[in-house]
Subunit: 431 residues, 2 copies
């Protein structure tokens, strides 16, 4: 049994500072839980001159390579692909266990890291990479290891959830809500990664890999952000008993040719107001899981922020450190199922299609005929008057249809003389 | 590496049948996830003549002692204290890892079992003992191992949650709602363990032990059931923006003499209608956790039933089986913190006190004087007319007060000439 475990920290921003603080403040508790003291031996940063509140300046170093070579546990919270990737591989080569919060790296090149950790016989843990403080990686890969996951629906990006919430509660438009989120520190100066769904797509890839025992990279994820949503869309959603959420979805599905596989996608969707995910407000995250035996599960909490993310990281640090003290390792990558990732066009969902049409007899018949033509079945239609006298608004809710069929239908409907505009096409999930 | 792992099942009721079914149906997946096939070698039952749907009769045996002696993994779902306790100890002695759903046994005598497993170097897992399918044991003892849990608030008994929900939604009284729950199979013929809070108290003890790294037995849990609640209490709760839930509560607290410790209790409480726990309906369970770094977390899902409970059990089976294949062990009992369990009288909560008083000048002054006398601070008062002309109803919400102070106050108020009745005294939690 080691008399103490050397912990190296790579990165000392918002999250790293909290990891360093908690490692120090909770040293006695952590040592008791691990069975040996955890000794923070260094913190790798790019710039030594930046002050890091609560972090002993003597621990700071710019020589990350040397730091990881001498550690038992390496915590990577620098983010980005390089040098994080090389440093993690170097840590593994030197026999260190690794804890990382780096969703972008795992979603792009996880299998390389998993294979290296497996070959070296060390742990690679990453609870903090998905949904911040919420325990979701461990439950999916361990608690549900005896079950068959059908579907994962997650609100995994707090920035967009905050923005959509503000649009819903106060009728802000997207730009206003994004600016407010930036002012509060919930959104970056360049909000692209959040509002275009890249961040959520990385998390979707990681969750899908775990849930379906299949390698899924961010390139397999169909992605659509929230930038085309209007205040009007959000208000209409409320009027039909829904809220709009940016969802990360991973599900088992069957393609038209009978191939069984999975689909992974990120897009805004209408969620019924009485669904547990509808009540997830502000910057909170939640992940809803449907499994065959367990039924419906939901995991809820803070998806970002220094201290919440540090909590998830330190839980992993205790796990991997315990393994070094007591022997053994945690679960390794499980990709045995190797399910095919089905093309986006095969995804089947319900849709709400909003149209502006001429207010004259026979319009609905023409629109309905196009839907029937493309094999898309109507669940409900609602027609309302528009401010212009000769215009009507038509809201069509479909039964589950393939994205391909729906896209063809919408194109055909948009080409009808009687249709002035296809105002919006939104998926309905969680019903 | 073993070529296969022998799994023995003790008990074949609602849960055991599902465990047997899933072990068989999912054999290929489970084997791939574990790294070796899981072979169900026998199912111990009391009566061989009872038909067990989907279970190969050749596996049934009444000789549980012989069965556990030859197994690698023993799954105990027979329930009760004996012979479950002796069989688990015998399994451990023979070097088997154990998975159990037996909350009553763990809450009464867990430390004996944990010590035996630790001495033998085998795993003892029990995810299914608390909140059925919901992963809560693993998140609390592993994911939150790097954090400091402040408080756990759980709806961990589906029967009482169903009953309270029916009282709230349709105005049923307690007896009617319990009878309905019995008819639907949600409540036992003798509902005592559920409605008197014994089942929730066992789960509270287990959760508290894990969250606070301290041994907590069911005898340490202050317990109060739902049997004194009336349809009127439930309706009043709704009128003040609350719902009544039976909560299992474990929290850090400081006694009046400055002793830092924990309190563990089960009782009905008013929960604000906008709290995440308020939206947990029917037979669902949820556990709300407050930790220093992570903030607020919630775990939601099915708290009972054959398949959901079997899901949790099989997750544990995969974990302990992986350890046998890959080496190592899961976390052992952590009771290093050894915090004192503070007496119930030291618990501090907000209260709603409902009174029937004479409708005459000076009544509120007298009642308020008694509260002040006992050091209980008033947050809000609401007075309404009663059907009788000379009677008024008074609803007093207090700031946090100790149970001792509140009890003294209520006794004194009840003794006032102007007070006709203390209608109810309910705690307010989760604000």
């Amino acid at each position: 049994m080691p008399d103490k475990l050397k912990v190296a920290l790579l990165g000392c921003g918002v999250v790293g500072t909290q990891v360093a603080r908690l490692l120090t403040e909770q040293a006695d508790d952590l040592g008791a839980r691990v069975g040996a003291p955890l000794d923070l031996v260094g913190v790798a940063v790019r710039d030594l001159s930046v002050p890091r509140e609560g972090v002993d300046p003597a621990l700071l170093t710019t020589n990350a390579e040397a730091l990881v070579a001498g550690a038992d546990v390496v915590v990577e919270v620098m983010g980005g692909i390089e040098p994080a990737r090389s440093l993690i591989l170097r840590a593994i080569e030197h026999g260190a266990s690794v804890v990382t919060a780096n969703k972008a790296l795992l979603a792009q090149d996880g299998p390389t890291l998993y294979a290296a950790a497996d070959a070296a016989g060390v742990d690679l843990y990453f609870e903090a990479a998905v949904a911040g403080a919420i325990p979701i990686v461990r439950p999916v890969r361990e608690s549900l290891a005896g079950d068959t996951v059908r579907r994962v629906l997650g609100i995994v990006n707090g920035t967009t959830n905050y923005v959509l919430d503000r649009m819903a509660t106060d009728g802000l438009d997207l730009d206003q809500a994004v600016k407010e989120a930036q002012a509060l520190g919930y959104a970056e100066a360049d909000p692209t990664a959040d509002v275009e769904g890249f961040d959520a797509a990385a998390k979707a890839a990681i969750l899908a890999s775990l849930a379906f025992h299949t390698r899924v990279s961010i390139d397999d994820v169909q992605r659509e952000g929230i930038t085309s949503l209007t205040a009007d869309d959000v208000a209409w959603a409320a009027g039909t008993g829904h809220v709009i959420k940016l969802l990360a979805i991973a599900e088992r599905n069957t393609a038209d040719d009978g191939t069984e596989g999975i689909q992974v996608r990120v897009h805004p969707a209408l969620v019924p107001a009485d669904h547990p995910l509808a009540g997830v407000h502000g910057a909170f995250n939640a992940v809803f899981v449907e499994a065959e035996a367990a039924g419906e599960l939901m995991f809820y909490g803070r998806g970002a922020g220094g201290a919440p993310t540090a909590s998830a990281i330190l839980g992993d640090v205790v796990s991997v450190a315990r393994h070094r003290v007591l022997g053994g390792r945690g679960p390794v990558e499980s990709s045995y199922a190797d399910l095919p990732v089905l093309p986006a066009a095969a995804a089947r969902t319900r849709y709400q299609v909003r149209l502006e049409v001429r207010d004259q007899p026979g319009v609905l018949a023409q629109v309905a005929a196009e839907l029937a033509e493309h094999g898309v079945s109507i669940e409900a239609v609602r027609q309302t008057a528009a401010p212009d006298a000769d215009v009507a608004r038509l809201l069509i809710t479909t039964h589950a249809a393939s994205e391909q069929a729906l896209a063809g239908t919408v194109e055909a409907i948009g080409g009808l003389d009687v249709v002035r505009a296809v105002v919006s096409v939104l998926r309905v999930e969680g019903a």
